[in-house]
Symmetry: D2
Subunit: 346 residues, 4 copies
Amino acid sequence: MTKLGLGVLGVGRMGQRHAENIQSLVPGARLIAVADVDLDGARRLANALEIEHHHASIEALVERKDIDAVVIASPSRFHLSAVQAAAAAGKHIFCEKPLALTLEGVDQAILAAYEAKVLLQVGFMRRYDPAYAEAHKRIEAGEIGAPIIFRSIGRDREPPPLSFYESGSGTLFLDSSIHEFDLARWLMKDEVVDVHAFGGTLACPELSQFGELDAGTVNLRFSRGAIGNVESFRQSRYGYDIYTEVVGSKATLRIGYLQQTGFTILSGEGVTHDVVDHFLVRFAQAYLNELRDFVQSVLSDSPPKVTGDDARRALAIALAADRSCRDSCTVQVASQARTEPVRPVS
Amino acid sequence: MTKLGLGVLGVGRMGQRHAENIQSLVPGARLIAVADVDLDGARRLANALEIEHHHASIEALVERKDIDAVVIASPSRFHLSAVQAAAAAGKHIFCEKPLALTLEGVDQAILAAYEAKVLLQVGFMRRYDPAYAEAHKRIEAGEIGAPIIFRSIGRDREPPPLSFYESGSGTLFLDSSIHEFDLARWLMKDEVVDVHAFGGTLACPELSQFGELDAGTVNLRFSRGAIGNVESFRQSRYGYDIYTEVVGSKATLRIGYLQQTGFTILSGEGVTHDVVDHFLVRFAQAYLNELRDFVQSVLSDSPPKVTGDDARRALAIALAADRSCRDSCTVQVASQARTEPVRPVS
Amino acid sequence: MTKLGLGVLGVGRMGQRHAENIQSLVPGARLIAVADVDLDGARRLANALEIEHHHASIEALVERKDIDAVVIASPSRFHLSAVQAAAAAGKHIFCEKPLALTLEGVDQAILAAYEAKVLLQVGFMRRYDPAYAEAHKRIEAGEIGAPIIFRSIGRDREPPPLSFYESGSGTLFLDSSIHEFDLARWLMKDEVVDVHAFGGTLACPELSQFGELDAGTVNLRFSRGAIGNVESFRQSRYGYDIYTEVVGSKATLRIGYLQQTGFTILSGEGVTHDVVDHFLVRFAQAYLNELRDFVQSVLSDSPPKVTGDDARRALAIALAADRSCRDSCTVQVASQARTEPVRPVS
Amino acid sequence: MTKLGLGVLGVGRMGQRHAENIQSLVPGARLIAVADVDLDGARRLANALEIEHHHASIEALVERKDIDAVVIASPSRFHLSAVQAAAAAGKHIFCEKPLALTLEGVDQAILAAYEAKVLLQVGFMRRYDPAYAEAHKRIEAGEIGAPIIFRSIGRDREPPPLSFYESGSGTLFLDSSIHEFDLARWLMKDEVVDVHAFGGTLACPELSQFGELDAGTVNLRFSRGAIGNVESFRQSRYGYDIYTEVVGSKATLRIGYLQQTGFTILSGEGVTHDVVDHFLVRFAQAYLNELRDFVQSVLSDSPPKVTGDDARRALAIALAADRSCRDSCTVQVASQARTEPVRPVS
């Protein structure tokens, strides 16, 4: 069987993980090349993974005939142009979230993929985490009755490096809370229609220079009346803490855990265990599963599980949260979501 | 040593618990009489507790010379008149929350106690729970740094009986969330200035006839910039779940637990344990501690730990949440809190 | 209704708790007097509990006509003589474990109660703990199938004071493990036939002067083939940790928990919570329940739930463990248990 | 850099996992071939992993010049002959536990490796689990003081298939408890000198035909006086439960956890979560880490971390447990352990 040739754009933390996964753990895929404007970084990663090719741009990457699909893990503000370049070259696309920083950008990305007849999947990896996947399955099966309240918190141990903010990678709500917004839609099986957000730069004063928040709390109202809340925080200090609840009319689901290793020490000071410290640890399986699924979808000519429309709707909530926080008022989520054109099966 | 004579108004669940505690477990106190408009109920409780006296009204109760203080546990809308009657009779007062259903009512209650020179304590019992008390102590000691985010959920297993709603005992925010609002002020050591609430009648359609909510999510903004969220829900079905977090600049506190007995069963279906089912179980120690403290404050002529001003400020937040939920907008908390006159030491 | 008049012998920690419970929390009972060879201690407790009478001896206590039953909480080596004195005076008896320090002693105690036609209950309070009671109920209901493996650990935070050892209160296995041995019989619904024990004085060298162990591990074999293990340890330092498992052919039960207050702190050092520190905290409800049940049994002329025969069988296991540890061999449990004469219903 | 060529003997569950790990996740290693008497099975695995070679025997495997080291994962009773064949061919050896089924066999295996100057590592993978590794590190650092009590349970969800027993793969103590015995030595930093075991065929009557136990409890005494207990059980039904405690004079360590996914459901029946179901899940990281370490040791000409002597000492404990269980007496562990000859550094 011929394998799908993949290229990875961006050799930061996330791009590196995707490349490693493709190289070793994704059946049906072959890692062909990596690319980054930091050519040295690209070379180092290529060497480490023992692949032959590295490039300095998405253009060079998608020129390659042996590449069938690209994984886009560059800074968020470059996602759109990379998607457009990949689509123009007829490559299937896996793109990290957010797909673009504006609804217009998302529409252009979706359109580009549609016109090029390539598959476009977006990196909401939590849907592929075994615990979240189980939760979704139970809800589908009716175990909790009607979903009534959604609640999710996402806390990083430490904020991203300042270079992240300098690269224009999106606000707290666009970069971080967007994961919770996607979960909200997916687990509640409903759309968010109104949001209200309070936020602040409370723990990391160095973010003020970028006008960035480090903490936010977002109230949600869903179209069928359900309510919810999302918290995002950049500096918990104790660990990477992702915790979600879906309260239903019959039962409640929780997804989340803190302990990383299963090691505990009991002393006169109490009982102490460690905490998961990083998203690459917490969601290691999810990052792997999403790429496996992407590759399978391409190989089997199936539609992606996480679509451009999903990206658009989560972004719309994030943008509404941004505005609510700025104006201190309830904001309606832009409802004119365009449905993603279904990829024509050739 | 002469004991403080106490009377209890209201022989519902809460009044009964207070009466039992006083009868057996509160040093320095003696239960003299109970009163309720339901005279039979009052008689039954008096018999069960082997006390001689029961009455049909607060007026009859406070006429008694052998009563020094009253515990008010009647339906919320009768709190104010009971406080006024007790104060007029020169009795010290422990009153269940909410002290009254309007800010004006609270002001009248505070004034009545002030003019009568009696001590007035309000039943925010969670401050007396060992876990919450420990949290407060740690925050005072600076262990978490500056409090940044407050988060608290309160879920009942089942809603109160319909008679509760018929008795006009206050909305979801006034009756239930008000505990979280008090914790927010007390643990964050700050005042709430803005609130935003979404709510719904999502699980208990029978509440619609009263225009009552069964679920609410309230965003909070504190005067020094911190943010927070409170959720209240009337029908979790799985148990009584009270859970609070205070995220600080250095560390985070959690207060809460689910398991009631320490019994677990492990089978092919997974690991299962039980859940605390009722506030009288979860806060048994707190209900006891608050009355012990009330009695000690009276006996030692000290100011109460939970004051009428605390009641007023928590109510102001609840009223703002009510309005926010109705009007779907951010609402400022009424800031003109009157400080409670300190009880003159005779 | 006339109340059962109770006297308490021994005003140490345990006697004090029993006296407090009787004074306030045991329906149908009235605390008449306390007694201790330390007459000052007895007086102080009587004053604290506002009862009129205190005495220096069991003899003085049981002379009282207004006392119907006694609670024996003196040092273990005085249990037998106290039981005999109480029985001779026709008083019903609740006796702390161990009932006596030898099988002959237990037989004498049982005989004394039998001949005096008084009820004799032994203080294996864990049977009255809600979690253990639930476990027992589930086993009875067949939820775990056939019990196969028993496992129980009992760890004190700190060893008893040296005065405890000076008073001759029994070895590690007789004083501490005996609780686990009683659970083993009760939860497995079977008798222990063989034991093997290793032990040591590993943490508290000051116990060597008494020839006492601070740590022991006891293998058990039950008559129907099931196996088990019991660990006892005197100085965990982290808390009072009681943990039991019953592995069944269909499912497994666990009974135990560590956290005392539900307060947790999360910091860069990990997640830390407190630990239950003392048996009077962990088993507060059980101590209360057992006395309530004792009083009800006496009042209703019913047989006790924990009998002299239970005391005898648990002691036989403990004595076998003592010998096994000394001789480093498997030891058969003395099987000639005498069944307790059923108390004749008058 | 040239990679170490590896061959895997045995394509059962365990051999398959080792082969997959080597193929993708072990730096410095290249999977050359797999071998099994079941040649079809070997071919299927080779195909699945896209490697070219498969063989029907260890002899064929070790004839290959491109193979530098072998991983032995055949049934236990074939371990010794495979080790001897590999050593004779000058291949480095990673062998699953037990290294052999008798002390003489272990001695022969050690001698073979010694004379061939090849590295021999044994598959006690738990030492490579992050939680166990952390525990070991803390003990080394003195955090718990002197280790006093060791306690470890190992429960499989279901017993191995009957073919496992037919293949003569060792008793409960040799096949399963041996992991706990290795942990006992490693974590307590002491040798076991006496053991006592009770066992039974309590849950799986079909094992009686092989004279096999499904449950055992083993008391341990260490050379410096510490004590311990090990439980092994073949059929928990609820999951794969590995749990270890080391009680020290200052603090206590726990290693273990039950929850697999972090998904929880809360309903009127209680709070339920799932359970780790298999050792390949629980110890996925450990299996990977041990092979990475093995490869690094070979490449850097360093001695192995888990030696033939470790295998010998753990086996001696297991054999003593076998005999104790049979004879119902305390058994001394064969103390004449031969120290493994250090591999000469060329």
